[in-house]
């Protein structure tokens, strides 16, 4: 997966969780959970949806590597 594909997938998943979010305006460095008001359940849904589409496991200890949009894109595109 390249970065553009990773970003598109992340946007698609996030819109399912926060339908009102204006993701195009989301700074790459912003904390996703703060910016989109995601609680623990939302973030678990996010990780689970990414896992279901990509097969990437994303262990709990690596949740911190998906903290911002840029981080998450880099994590999935690696």
């Amino acid at each position: 997966m390249n970065k553009a594909e990773a970003k598109a997938l992340i946007f698609e998943v996030l819109l399912g969780i926060a339908p009102e979010a204006e993701l195009d305006r989301l700074p790459g460095s912003a904390q996703l959970r703060d910016e989109l008001d995601l609680d623990s359940m939302d973030f678990l849904d996010f990780v689970a949806a990414v896992h279901e589409r990509t097969g990437i496991d994303i262990p709990e200890v690596e949740y911190g590597k998906l903290a911002t949009l840029d981080d998450a894109v880099a994590y999935l595109a690696r």
Partner: protein, 424 residues
């Protein structure tokens, strides 16, 4: 013949607006079946029927504002395979009702107060639709967002005919827009001529705020609250979760909330005077530990759907029930009974919340438990100070039903269970 009336869905809920019938005359229903969707201050709620029978008549059309107690439908209970026939509620009908000898008898004509419905002759046979419920919608559950329901009702579009693109196939606002652009909408159901706002649909944050304010004002006015708090070390609980989650795919992972919920439910089973309702000057114990899980909604507002028999479910099942309840609370699809079943409310502030909450009891319940954010603090273990993850556990109790001694025992028991988290 049994009248099915608009149920009360909370201490301060006075009315709702019918947005969808899920049944049609002639349909056989069992206790607990969802027969309608009603828009309320708490969003779109699925209304269940409380007795078995055959739907004889849908009394009100889609779009009608329904004060609590309004007759929505009539059931022929005699057609149900039950030895005892259900009796009609106490309030007498406003007009004589002809009792048909069997389920196949024609439905009675609409009451005079109801506006005549287009195409419905005065003595409509059972198959004559009131608001033409779509077959697909009547056949099964249609998951849809509150905004989508509102728009579909406005446009006269049957939700069951719209392909859903949302989570789990839920119909979204965009799906409804697309469907309404594709096909010319069928004429909307005849609008009620009764005065007042007939169709205030959708999840309305201002209306929900009013409902919360009304319930909390009543709580503060009527309930003599007492408050307790206990700091709980959660090292063992976090270790359990880490061990359990490390080998699991994301969809199967547990959140700390599941452990907190289980510990609370098990402890509540030992302190029954905190689990139940204050009604008519008396305490009525709950018929089980049904925990209302406080769920914040995007756009503001709060809803606490029941997780039934929480003390009898293993951890994974509790987690699944919690995910399901939260998802439906946020996407639409909470059942009426889920709003009235909770025997206590539990609020967990989560990872981004404050350190503690001083709960306000949700009447007619008699207690509420709160969990703050887990924080690392200096903690004394074996005479030495070290950093430990801790959490502030709080309780608001109703002094009419219990006192601080019993409340304290509940908190101590939750603490004890969390120290033995491996056994939860």
């Amino acid at each position: 013949m049994t009248d099915f009336r608009m149920p009360s869905l909370g201490a301060d809920m006075e009315a709702g607006t019918l947005v969808e019938w899920r049944v049609k005359p002639g349909d056989r229903v069992r206790r607990g079946d969802v027969i309608a969707v009603v828009e309320t201050q708490k969003g779109a709620i699925e209304i269940e029927v409380f007795s078995a029978g055959v739907i004889a008549e849908l009394v009100v059309p889609v779009g009608t504002q329904l004060p609590v107690g309004t007759v929505m439908a009539r059931l022929d209970a005699a057609a149900a395979p039950r030895p005892t026939q259900a009796t009609a509620p106490a309030p007498p009908p406003t007009r004589p009702v002809a009792v048909p000898p069997a389920a196949a008898a024609p439905a009675v004509s609409p009451p005079a107060a109801m506006p005549p419905v287009a195409e419905a002759p005065p003595a409509a046979p059972p198959v004559s639709p009131l608001a033409a419920p779509p077959p697909a919608a009547a056949a099964g559950h249609v998951s849809a967002s509150p905004a989508a329901r509102r728009r579909a009702a406005e446009r006269g579009i049957a939700l069951g005919r719209v392909a859903g693109s949302g989570p789990g196939g839920a119909v979204t606002l965009a799906d409804v827009e697309a469907a309404s652009a594709e096909a010319p909408p069928t004429p909307p159901p005849a609008p009620p001529t009764a005065p007042g706002p007939a169709r205030r649909g959708g999840f309305d944050p201002a209306a929900m705020r009013q409902a919360i304010a009304a319930a909390m004002s009543r709580s503060k006015r009527e309930i003599p609250h007492y408050y307790l708090s206990q700091t709980v070390e959660v090292t063992a609980a976090l270790a359990r979760l880490e061990r359990q989650n490390s080998g699991r795919a994301p969809p199967d992972r547990l959140l700390p909330a599941a452990l907190l919920l289980r510990a609370t439910a098990l402890a509540l089973a030992k302190t029954p005077e905190l689990n139940g309702f204050w009604e008519d000057g008396h305490f009525r114990p709950g018929d089980g530990v049904h925990i209302g899980w406080a769920t914040s909604l995007r756009g503001g507002g709060l809803i606490a759907p029941a997780i039934r028999d929480a003390d009898k479910r293993p951890l994974d099942e509790l987690m699944a029930a919690m995910r399901d309840a939260v998802r439906r609370a946020r996407a639409g699809g909470v059942r009426g009974s889920e709003l009235t079943d909770p025997t206590i409310t539990v609020s967990s502030l989560g990872e981004r919340g404050a350190e503690s909450v001083l709960p306000i009891i949700n009447p007619p319940q008699v207690a509420m438990v709160g969990f703050g954010r887990i924080v690392t603090r200096p903690w004394v273990v074996d005479g030495a100070i070290g950093p430990r993850p801790v959490m502030t556990l709080t309780l608001a109790g109703d002094h009419r039903a219990s006192d601080g001694h019993r409340g304290g025992l509940l908190l101590v028991e939750i603490d004890r269970l969390l120290q033995e988290a491996e056994t939860l």
